[in-house]
Amino acid sequence: MIQTEKAVMPGRGGVFGAFSDGVWRHPKIFLLLLLLPPVLWLGVVYIGSLIALLIQSFFSIDEFTGLVNREFTLKTYGELLHPANLDIVVRTVSTAIVVTLAAAVVAFPIAYYAARYAKGKWKAVFYLGVMLPLWSSYLVKIYAWKLILAKEGILNWIFAQLHLTWLLDAVLAIPVIGGNSLSVSYLGTCIVFLYVWLPFMILPLQASLERVPANLLEASSDLGARPGKTFRHVILPLAMPGLIAGSIFTFSLTLGDYIIPQIIGSSRLFIGQAVYAHQGTAGNIPLAAAFTVVPIVVMAFYLWLAKRHGAFDAL
């Protein structure tokens, strides 16, 4: 009899066992324990500092003493609208848009191949190929690109070997995006941004494409849709959450970066560089904070727009 009892219900295993039993009986406590550390980190440290930043942006700087005046004012945001500062904002946002669109176009075939066709070994090759660049130092990669894109660099050499130097020169002669060489042009900046952020577009896109069942494509074809129409009406809408997720990465990372435009491109400032300069040498924390608010507002607007156009309907 005793033996049967044992078999039906083994005893509690000490303190940890009692703890497990308690947690099992009160799932809400378990959830609380599970979420407490991340909520503390995210809520207090992360969101908290963001709010502190937001508050700083409503302070202003005294032009004579250089001290921060802790009275709420919109003066700093007014400064943001000065042509020189507005120029920085427009330059950064338009670069981010170009980089994001280019990343989407380049990433899509890669992600599509990986989601639809790559099996076994080739899937491993795909993941390795996409992740490998992330393993090496960010700075090393950017300096490597500076060498590649320089006037004496390998890209120029290849164009020369192919007798296409005239083509490169023609591209570089285009105002705004061109320059003396690729390494000192906006085009060069965009190329390097595209290279560095591409994995962040490919991976979410591949994940969303992987979730599209193959028989939906067959169904679309069965109902008379040519491959182009299937892409437009089935694949693209279902890949949209992945595209949006990827574009959040590429867009916000480009908006915030200050190293790539400093090393590659014309010496004109991006938002990141402006923030760096204002909070450091210039000591203008309020303006630095106001600059930081710009990407947040831009991203919020972008997500609102995406939601309004039904980009998350397939979620």
């Binding site: 069942p213 028989n215 939906l216 067959e218 169904a219 679309s220 074809s221 069965d222 109902l223 008379g224 849709a225 040519r226 129409k229 009406h233 089935v234 809408p237 279902l238 309907d313 397939a314």
Partner: protein, 328 residues
């Protein structure tokens, strides 16, 4: 008369695997045609060839007299109801149903009306604005059906459309499909592994086994005159006996005897021992042993049933023994 679907000498090989091996098939216009077979027998591959999702390794396919060997699915006048429905998750029910019309460039108002009519036909009116995820399995099945028939295809292909439904719903849908086919007059080609479904719905049945068609016939003939041991066994689990045992002189070795043709008698016939009794409701299946040969009898549960282990006598009408012409 032109056949709706005509397959000639179709082979479909995947490496060494012969999914379809020398298939010839003629499906008449307006027919309700079933492709029946166990899983892996090639019936679904056959359907996919007609739909155009796959191409045959060799052989020809004609749909209403037109060769479609190089025609992609989107230019074939056939529509498919998929096994797991394949409804578009990002579109609501009306947009799912109207998808084919939208692709063809039908204006929004016309296609909405057509979609609503199709939803009425499959008895789901007012469900238009729901998402597929909000529907039950049976409702999704109906939407998939509506999405196909709204295009007025020349041939409708159905890939195990009732497989995921529970018994009650399945029986109801069988009736509805049959009625729908008669109302629309479209040729239906229906893949199933359920012999009961094929027998009750189809005008004709093609039985697949290991990539080959072993018999094409009406349900009555398939059931009563199976061509091979495989058919006899697969459709309604017939007793397979030798012609010698049945007392028939024939060039062929094997014959089939339906369990319901085996009768328990008081005198005459053969002596048999009752191995087990299997209660099935109104009928009871009796497993019998006659000198080492196993036979099944299906008897009414309301009759006096023999005890397990009892020695009884059984008999059958000699005309119920069907010699299988397809076997040596």
């Amino acid at each position: 008369m032109i056949s709706a679907v005509k397959l000639s000498k179709i082979n479909r090989h995947y490496g060494d695997v012969r999914a379809l091996d020398g298939i010839d098939l003629d499906i008449a216009e307006g027919e309700f045609f079933a492709l029946l077979g166990p899983s892996g027998s090639g019936k679904t591959t056959c359907l996919r060839l007609i739909a155009g999702f796959e191409s045959p390794t060799s052989g020809h396919i004609e749909i209403f007299g037109q060769a479609v060997d190089d025609v992609p699915p989107y230019r074939r006048h056939v529509n498919t109801v998929f096994q797991d429905y394949a409804l578009f998750p990002h579109l609501n029910v009306v947009d799912n149903v109207a998808y084919g019309l939208m692709i063809r460039g039908v204006d929004k108002r016309t296609r909405q009306i057509a979609a609503e009519q199709a939803l009425d036909l499959i008895r789901l009116p007012g469900y238009g604005l729901r998402r597929p995820a909000e529907l039950s399995g049976g409702q999704r099945q109906r939407v998939a059906l509506a999405r196909a028939i709204v295009n007025q295809p020349k041939v409708l292909l159905l890939d195990e459309p009732l497989g995921a439904l529970d018994l009650k719903l399945r029986e109801q849908m069988q009736e509805e499909l049959r009625t729908l086919q008669q109302t629309l007059g479209i040729t239906f080609v229906f893949v199933t592994h359920d012999q009961g479904e094929a027998l009750s719905m189809a005008d004709r049945i093609a039985i697949f086994n290991e990539g080959k068609i072993v018999q094409v016939d009406t349900p009555e003939n398939i059931y009563q005159r199976p061509n091979t041991r495989f058919v006899a066994d697969f459709v309604g689990s017939s007793n397979v006996i030798t012609t010698a045992f049945a007392g028939i002189t024939s060039d062929h070795t094997w014959a089939s005897l339906r369990p319901e043709s085996v009768k328990i008698v008081k005198t005459g016939g053969k002596s048999a021992r009752v191995i087990s009794l299997n209660y099935l409701g109104s009928l009871t299946r009796v497993a019998l042993d006659i000198d080492g040969i196993r036979l099944h009898a299906l008897v009414s549960s309301y009759d006096t049933l023999p005890e397990q282990g009892a020695e009884i006598r059984i008999d059958w009408n000699q005309q119920d023994v069907r010699v299988m012409q397809g076997e040596r």
